[in-house]
């Protein structure tokens, strides 16, 4: 679901949102905070705060009360067009107003949302979607297949493809066909076994025919009250929402450009929840009565990227040596303050096909040294390009890597560049750098970051054996079979890939004990995935 968020985030980084850098300045430790929603942080060890338990009392959740939420950033550019949403505030606001056909639940399992049923033909070329009955828009009109056709034709309009288009792999506007009032057919030229992930994509939320973003009408849990871009927005509950909730009487989302201001507002009970709690403040919040930390394990990651077509990384032994240099546990503890879980040089940990039985890679400096020596790079000096744009913790991780590399006789010089430079012209050409990705399943991730056709193939990864496996998986609607192919492909990357995937980071938010319905969200989207309709006062 979140590849478009990343794309957007990268663009944002490239253009360097003022606000973001502001945050960066306030606290280098703020890690991924900069990227707000996007950069999740995650708990390697089990999430300590079982927030669900807090509100688990008997009977139904209490209704009423004014919920106030503090989130990161926001600017005059905040948009209420779900197909253009990029920043944390955009996503937070749009999640209230709109909904999508499918969606990831809080355990990162794909579920139907507006769709009652989604099915494909065996070749995965024709997908049929049937809407739930009795769905309606905020203005009372029913949600129909016309709206679905309108939505997806708008997204994949070849004249102006929107951010979600890439996730719908090759869908043409004329191939979105209304079958009846509740049924739509998607006819693909090339098979796509994971089109469902496209339906779950946040930028592919449903809009009504004749949509006008200045008067946003959606079918999400809340209706818009007052909206001041860059400052705050108020919402009232939508009675016709298909799922349970909302429970609160009204909702205010307040945007805080400044980290400390956000934390202060939370600790002084001006707001009930905040996203992106600075790690340094975790102990403060934990020690403060009535305030709780919401920590979610996610599949978000900040890899080191080695270009496999550039010396010395073109030698697989060097790549292997570099992976052996990393003491993942130490890196996790120093760079993420322990808020995350150790990774094994493979991404997409929640993918059903993820190979869980491969041995955990550990630091082995001796082996690293001998590999480097074998490769003829005994006294290696390399430059590692890093930037706050990747997230403050990325720079920290780079420092940890540099320090650990000393043990293997490798000198790592950090080249910390500005956001605009990092994601500027030279992005994707750095021989050795870092990047960030959100939770995503394997094939979607490959399409975004590892396939030769992927827009962000930082490592210039190209491996015929691997590519065949991935392409076949794309065409394979059978889950078990596809999972096997994915596992095989991931194993190849585990052995000779250009990424060092050392941890998945936790998303850390905070909430007031007075509210319930708060649950860690594995996708890395802050604050229960912004599903505030599930939140209620205790």
């Amino acid at each position: 679901m979140s590849d478009e968020i990343e794309t957007r985030a990268r663009k944002a980084a490239r253009r360097s949102l003022t606000r973001r850098d502001f945050l960066k300045g306030v606290g280098a430790t703020g890690a991924g905070l900069a990227f707000g929603p996007l950069l999740a942080s995650c708990g390697g060890e089990e999430s300590t705060t079982t927030s669900t338990a807090a509100q688990g009392g008997g009977g139904g959740p209490k209704t009423g009360g004014s919920l106030k939420v503090g989130i990161v950033g926001g600017s005059a550019k905040d948009t209420l067009d779900p197909h253009l949403a990029t920043t944390e505030p955009d996503i937070a606001l749009n999640t209230q107003l709109y909904d999508s056909l499918m969606g990831w639940d809080q355990d990162y399992v794909l579920k139907n949302r507006l769709a009652e049923e989604v099915s494909a033909n065996p070749e995965a070329t024709v997908w049929t979607v049937r809407l739930r009955p009795d769905l309606s828009w905020h203005d009372g009109k029913p949600v129909t297949s016309d709206d679905v056709v309108y939505t997806f034709q708008r997204i994949v309009d070849p004249a102006n493809p929107l951010s979600g288009a890439a996730s719908l792999g090759g869908l043409k506007p004329e191939n979105v066909i209304k079958v009846d009032e509740r049924t739509v057919e998607f006819r693909l030229d090339i098979p796509n076994a994971i089109l469902t992930e496209g339906f779950a994509y946040r930028q592919n939320m449903l809009i009504p025919v004749g949509f006008d973003p200045t008067k946003p009408v959606g079918c999400g849990p809340f209706k818009l009250g007052e909206f001041k871009p860059g400052q705050q927005a108020t919402f009232s509950p939508f009675d016709g929402f298909w799922e349970d909730g909302p429970y609160v009487a009204d909702l205010t989302i307040i945007e805080f450009a400044d980290e400390a201001a956000r934390v202060n507002a939370f600790l002084s009970d001006t707001v009930h929840m905040i996203s992106q709690l600075p790690r340094a403040q975790v102990t403060v919040v934990e020690g403060s009565a009535g305030h709780k930390v919401l920590r979610a394990s996610t599949g978000a990651w900040q890899p080191f990227t080695m270009r496999i077509d550039e010396k010395p990384y073109s030698d697989v032994r060097v790549r292997q040596a570099f992976r052996l240099i990393v003491d993942r546990q130490q890196m996790l503890e120093q760079a993420y303050s322990g808020y995350g879980w150790v990774a094994n040089d493979m991404y997409s940990p929640f993918d059903p096909g993820f190979p869980k039985d491969l041995p955990q890679r550990e630091q082995d400096l001796e082996k690293a040294k001998s590999l480097l020596k074998e490769a003829g790079y005994a006294d290696l000096t390399v430059e590692l390009v890093t930037s706050d744009a990747v997230g403050g913790s990325a720079v920290s991780a780079a420092q940890v890597f540099a320090e650990q590399a000393k043990g293997a006789g490798v000198t790592v010089n950090l080249n910390k560049v500005d956001p605009g430079v990092f994601y500027g012209d030279q992005y994707l050409t750095w021989p050795f750098a870092q990047d960030f990705w959100y939770t995503r399943n394997y094939l979607a991730q490959a399409a975004a970051g590892t396939l030769p056709t992927a827009p962000y193939n930082e490592t210039h990864w190209k491996d015929e054996e691997w590519q065949k496996l991935v392409e076949e998986a794309y065409r394979t609607p059978d889950d078990a079979k596809r999972n096997e192919l994915v596992a095989a492909a991931a194993t190849i990357e585990y052995e000779r890939g250009g990424l060092i995937v050392w941890a998945f980071n936790d998303q850390i938010d905070a909430y007031n004990e007075k509210i319930g319905g708060v649950k860690p969200d594995k996708s890395g989207t802050p604050l229960t995935g912004f599903r505030f309709h599930k939140v209620h006062f205790a």
Binding site: R15, T18, A257, D258, G420, Y427
Partner: protein, 321 residues
């Protein structure tokens, strides 16, 4: 032409010349930037056709002097271009509130520090070598030495985080609320600026007052049997203030730069903060606008100090040199 008028016109001319040169420097500097503005705007989406189109739209294909002229005439009409970062937003609209905020901050700092430091400086000179003078001197020396962020962090430690927790450590103004209802947010940043500026003014006033007190004409005034009151307030202080005017102007101009660090420190939404952001993001039109604005403040304040000096010193006013 009367010599006084000529003198004043000359100062204006010089001020205008400096401002013009400043604009050339700012434009030339940002023009010299390696990299392509069009590419910076379009980022990864850039296709050659779109780049070309955008360059045309931005006038980047025109000769440099013409670009400068167009930029300058835009500036003259209050059009500072569009932000590269916050696309579609004009620099002017992005800066409007920030300029107001910074102006308020600087104004408060100036209104507190100037009279305060003049009094301290004058009293130190009059009670030269007294305990008061010694204390003020050490205080001035210490404060003058400290970089403003050190003063600021010190104040935060004492008043906001670790000792007392009486004032906010962060001064993020709520734009929807009148500033007068958020004055408590301005206390620490304004205090930082005040403490950073006051020592300079009071030191220079002390020095100039001492010089005046040792002058022949003050000695003469004493030997004429004038009361202390007359000697100090009629003979000494007016002469001591004149050279201080320039320093006051310089320090007020410095405030415009000092806000950079102080606003960053307190997260205060002003021009200083905007400059740090713009630099970090290479938001050229924003940097151009801010540098021009800050340098303009300097030139104008200097001009005012020049004119003030002319008006208060008879030798210049009567134009006989």
């Amino acid at each position: 032409m009367p010599p006084l008028l000529k003198l004043i016109l000359m100062r204006f001319g010089l001020g205008a010349l400096t401002l013009f040169l400043v604009s050339v420097v700012v434009f030339a500097a940002t023009q010299a930037l390696p990299g392509d503005t069009a590419r910076a705007i379009l980022g990864k989406d850039a296709t050659p056709q779109r780049l070309e189109l955008l360059r045309q739209q931005l006038g980047l294909d025109k000769p440099v002097p013409q670009q400068y002229w167009e930029w300058l005439s835009g500036v003259a009409q209050g059009d500072l271009g569009d932000s590269l970062v916050q696309q579609g937003m004009s620099v002017t609209s992005l800066l409007r509130d920030r300029v107001k905020n910074s102006a308020a901050l600087v104004l408060i700092a100036a209104l507190v520090s100037v009279p305060f430091s003049i009094i301290i400086g004058a009293l130190s000179a009059v009670w030269r070598d007294s305990k008061f003078d010694m204390t003020a001197s050490v205080g001035n020396l210490t404060l003058a030495a400290l970089p403003e962020f050190v003063i600021g962090i010190g104040l935060v430690l004492v008043f906001a985080t670790n000792v007392f927790k009486v004032l906010p450590a962060v001064s993020r103004l709520d734009p929807s609320v009148s500033m007068f209802r958020q004055l408590h947010l301005l206390i620490l940043p304004a205090l930082t600026l005040t403490l950073a500026v006051a020592p300079y003014i009071s030191r220079i006033l002390r020095a100039s007052m001492i010089e005046v007190l040792e002058s022949e004409y003050v000695m003469m005034a004493r030997l004429k049997g004038l009361s202390n009151h007359l000697v100090l307030w009629r003979h000494a202080l007016p002469n001591a203030i004149v050279p201080t005017l320039q320093v006051i102007a310089l320090n007020l101009a410095w405030l415009a730069g000092g806000v950079v660090v102080v606003e960053y420190l307190f997260g205060f939404p002003g021009i200083g903060q905007a400059l740090v952001d713009a630099v970090a993001n290479r938001d050229l039109p924003m940097i151009q606008a801010l540098c021009l604005l800050i340098a303009g403040v300097y030139v104008v304040l200097n001009l005012m100090a020049d004119l003030g000096t002319i008006l208060v010193s008879p030798r210049l006013r009567t134009g006989l040199r």
